[in-house]
Amino acid sequence: MAREGERRAAAGVGRAAAAAAGGGGRGRAGRGGELVRVVVGASSQQPQQQDEGNEDDDGIAAAAASQGAPVSREEFDALVAEMVRFMLFKNHQQAGVPVKREELAQLGCKNYKHRFLVGQVIKEAQRKLRTIFGMEMKELIRVRQPTVTRGRANSQAVTEVKTYILRSTVPEALRMKYVDSPEASAISSLALIVVGIIQLAGDSISEENLWLHLQRLGIKEHDDKHPVFGNIKQSVEMIAKQRYIQKERMEGEGFIFKLAERALDDALKAKLNTFISKIAKSEASGPTTPYTPG
């Protein structure tokens, strides 16, 4: 019986190794003190997520298994905790500004030789943020066009930069009741207005026209002492940093504002359209009818 147990144990180890090598997709052990086998790859056992990035299926798992000593559970948890803290603090330091994947990779994963460790850590960090904090660590892909200098296009091809933002997944009722406050939320109203204007103008609008619309709300381009937004230009630049909009130079003179990757999200678009419809209805219903949310 003992020999049988030993044989089974040996077979189990072999199976595990084979599974890892063959891209079995088995994740990590759930108990502390055990090794975490960094297995990457699309498998039927793991749900495919959009955030996995560029990992292939079979050969990658074999390469990962052959890259040396696996990461221990404690180390993995430490990396995840570091990433979660980093995202939270970055979101406070620069509210809404996307965090680059390179920055996340430099938190500690660079000390390890595993190529796909970053992806695993990000995935786990997303899970923790979702379950513990009620936030979604959403991935955005920013496409950088080759710049044109002096009439010649750069030789660099179009590059994609992955960034991550935090979005709240708390239900609206709970948010209104426990999270949001008028004072803290007022700063977001400018982003909503600007995004709404640009979307209604066909996803792009000239800078001149944008300021014409904003002037009707008392928001002037060169105003730096607005009671809510302070310096208006800086506020608009902050909205661009948050990747709601992007500013591009026109062929002639001037600039145009376009929607950036964050505003092109389907969920946000749907909510924005709903909001715009309600605004239009409330205005059409009569001059004395106020806006009713919900």
Partner: protein, 400 residues
């Protein structure tokens, strides 16, 4: 909206038919007809430069109003659009030269592009334009007085003050944008590293200062008033002579401890004798005695009563040894001098160099006592001046 030439080759005015069909302004259309007849049938009246300038100014004002009222043109106010078109029509009737034609074409282009954008937007978003969106924001979140102001300013004139409820609008914005709050639990950036302690710089070991030394006292450097050691010895010796009147020569000069000080005493006595302040005589037992005398006056010197004479007082170490034996111990009168000579005295003493190849290091005159008092052997072969030989410097041999 291109111009269409009539059969007669004369340019016909556009908008003519539209102006008639709209029936908006019959008077305007009549005027347009009249101008058309004039253009068709008669030769155009030459315009002056002033008239053309005014015409271009009118076109510029229309372009500016189009730029400012762009959104109001697209609102549900068709009269605004029609009035704008009517103005352009009027001005167009007076166009004759290419420069004004360009201005006219630009005005028409602005109006048509604005209309085109309006149609695009209307088709894109169920007819909600950005202007309507702003109006809705004002209606929903504006304060009561601000709503009234905005209603009165449909042409998009700038409002003087903002009275939007940004807080309420912000609550809606967070629901739409789903922004997550951040957490601040630490001070400073995450990548800040603790400051490294500076490597302690090894301080130079400061040597302890030398032993406490008293600075040398500044002595009077006046040569005339400076007392030499010999003068002091003379004074001391003369005091003894004045006190004791007649003393034995050996007792006066001998220093039982130091041979050099004995020589110095003899030296001082010689000066006293030279000055006439001391006299060396013989006693009854044939011993030499020294008695004090008054200094002879100049008269006595001149009279020949006082004459200087010389004799050689040979005194070496052997003689000193004999003197030690001849004089009873304790009979010495001159005190033993222990202090080292001062710096000035040292500076005043120059070493005596011998004209010999054997350049020995010589002790300066007056400092023999220092050398004598310390471990000098009692060998009697020493001369008066103690010298120490140094190895002869080898000659540099030529290169071979």
């Amino acid at each position: 909206m291109a111009r269409v030439k009539s059969e007669k080759g004369q340019a016909t005015l556009p908008f003519t038919d539209r102006a008639v069909s709209n029936g908006g302004d019959q008077h305007q259309s009549n005027n347009v007809h009249q101008e058309a007849d004039q253009v068709a049938g008669e030769s155009p009246v030459d315009q002056t430069s002033t008239q053309r300038r005014m015409l271009r100014a009118d076109y510029r004002s229309i372009k500016e109003s189009i730029a400012v009222d762009k959104e109001s043109l697209m609102q549900a106010h068709p009269h605004t659009f029609n009035s704008m078109i009517g103005k352009v029509d009027k001005l167009h009737a007076m166009v004759q030269r290419p420069r004004e034609q360009i201005a006219d074409a630009e005005a028409v282009l602005d109006i048509s592009s604005t209309l085109l954008n309006f149609i695009k937007v209307a088709q894109h978003k169920d007819g909600v334009s950005p202007a309507e969106f702003i109006s809705g924001i004002i209606h929903s979140f504006g304060m009561a007085d601000f709503r009234e102001q905005s209603r009165g300013n449909v042409n998009g004139e700038q409002e003087s003050e903002c009275h939007i409820d940004w807080g309420a609008l912000g609550l809606q914005a967070t629901l739409v944008l789903c922004e997550a709050p951040g957490i601040c639990t630490m001070l400073g950036p995450m990548d800040i590293l603790p400051k490294q302690r500076r490597a302690p710089v090894a301080q130079r070991r400061r040597d302890r200062p030398a032993d406490v030394t008293r600075p040398e006292e500044v002595e009077d450097v006046d040569e005339a008033n400076r007392k030499t050691e010999t003068d002091k010895n003379m004074e001391a010796m003369f005091k003894i002579l004045r006190t004791l009147r007649s003393v034995q020569l050996e007792a006066l000069v001998l220093n039982r401890v130091s041979f050099s000080q004995t020589v110095e005493n003899i030296f001082a006595l010689s000066f006293l004798v030279k000055d006439g302040r001391a006299e060396i005589t013989y006693g009854e037992d044939g011993r030499h005695l020294v008695v004090p005398r008054n200094v002879p006056t100049a008269h006595e010197r001149a009279g020949g009563k006082v004459v200087n004479s010389q004799f050689v007082f040979r005194f070496d170490f052997r003689d000193w040894k004999l003197m030690l034996e001849s004089l009873q111990e304790g009979k010495e009168l001159m005190p033993h001098r222990t202090s080292s000579p001062s710096g000035n005295q040292i500076a005043s003493l120059t070493p005596i160099r011998k004209n010999s190849r054997n350049r020995a290091r010589e002790t300066p005159v007056g400092l023999e006592s220092l050398a004598d008092g310390e471990g000098q052997d009692d060998d009697g072969d020493h001369e008066e001046i103690i010298v120490s030989t140094v190895p002869k410097r080898p000659r540099s041999r030529p290169y071979q």
